[in-house]
Subunit: 236 residues, 2 copies
DNA sequence: ACGCGCTAGATCGTACATTGTTTATCGAAA
DNA sequence: TTTCGATAAACAATGTACGATCTAGCGCGT
């Protein structure tokens, strides 16, 4: 985590992102990304035979991948009628952001009290990269922003909460990648990140937590506005 | 929800508790309960062939059930080495309670602002049954207590949060069923429930939320103390 | 037009082949 | 004799193929 070119977002340690089997792993990830990135439409049927053919395997790995996705909430099942894509709509995104608003402040509070000099240096390094990039490459920004928050939550003792955050984050990252940042939002992100670092340095846990709550809420509002606008455009 | 004998805890609407396939459904539930109730030891290997034989099916339904459980976090997988039971230890329970402390107040706040006369009547009815039972039948208390909180969270617009709460609740219900309630805890539960109803009636959302936070935290502390004691006894 | 039955297609369960891992046994060296 | 190492055999996970069961959609008959 010291290379200047290192900006690929990594999950917090101890969280298994891989699928079960060698074949199943890629299948799981492929289908999942197809759902999150919107290549598979909402409520679309997931026919096992088709997926198997498309990915060049037999049906069994597909079935297991679908069950895994079901457990994670990305597909729904009706007995004897197969699987469907759970729609990642505004409600879904709103729900996730609201949970983030509740959980992230607590994670942040802990981080502020446990942050080392190296942590702060890492935060500032990533923040430097974020400002250097300055939203020119939105994909890169997305990765950097995720990395920024990962530094804070990575080592939290509540692995369950960290895992939850990461899973939500993966969805939101994919969703927000579809939109551009408004100028107001860009400014807010830079400002709030700087403020956050200042709070961490000063050890102001409460202020940091409160700031994160606003940060996440602002981020959610921003994405939801975009989704709403796009939906309106599509409908009109 | 009007019969006096109705005290079986039901999940909030819109949450699919059933497994995928007819056979797979029961398999999923059986294995899950074996894990939660502790009949399957922590980190125990889950051999597909064994489970299939034991439940009188072939391996495929077992594999799918395991993947489903993996997605829900009850089972861990290592490629080519199969599945293991994720230990439901003190850390796990603590993590879940801490998330509850963060989420439930928000759910409660919403409920207080949306509660109908019928909701309050239902709360009072269940509370009456709880006090009538007075912890004589701990299983029954567990169900009633779950029903009490379900009334509050059932119709929350954030389905994701409600679902999360329910999943956590199912685990905690099974864990806490193993222990008896201390007298202090019994008194606290009755008192806090009554207080909560009063807050709901008065429309004091903030007070109710704050009370729930304490309620959940107290419940968590109680269970964790029991677990700690049992572990100490086992080790000594 | 409406209902009934049939057929196409998909899910679900079983059986089997393949691949990788673990364990036990045997042999050689210390 | 013991210990280490290699090899082989048992075992279990993963992938493939197939048959049974269920659903849905279409056409036919009334």
């Amino acid at each position: 985590m010291a290379e200047a070119s290192d900006f690929k977002a990594e999950p917090p340690e101890g969280i298994d992102t891989l699928g079960a089997s060698s074949e199943g792993a890629s299948l799981y990830q492929l289908i999942r990304e197809d759902i999150i990135d919107g290549r598979l439409a909402a409520n679309e049927r997931l026919v096992v035979t088709d997926l198997a053919r498309r990915h060049g395997t037999s049906t069994n790995p597909v079935r297991e991948a679908l069950q895994l996705l079901r457990g994670e909430g990305f597909v729904t099942f009706v007995p004897n009628r197969g699987a469907r894509v759970r729609p990642i709509d505004q409600d879904f995104v709103r729900d996730i952001y609201e949970i983030g608003v509740l959980i992230e402040p607590a994670l942040t509070r802990w981080f502020v009290n446990m942050a080392t000099v190296e942590d702060i240096a890492e935060l500032e390094r990533i923040q430097g990269l974020i400002e250097e990039n300055n939203f020119a490459d939105t994909f890169r920004h997305s990765e950097l922003d995720t990395a920024f928050h990962t530094v804070m939550y990575q080592r939290h003792y509540n692995r369950h909460a960290a895992e939850l955050w990461w899973k939500h984050r993966e969805v939101l990252r994919a969703v927000s990648r579809r939109f551009n940042f408004t100028l107001a939002r860009r400014a807010a992100i830079i400002r709030e990140h700087r403020e956050l670092i200042a709070h961490v340095k000063a050890g102001n846990a409460d202020e940091a937590a409160e700031l994160i709550a606003r940060h996440v809420e602002g981020s959610g509002r921003h994405v939801l506005e975009h989704m709403r606008a796009r939906n309106a455009a599509r409908a009109g």
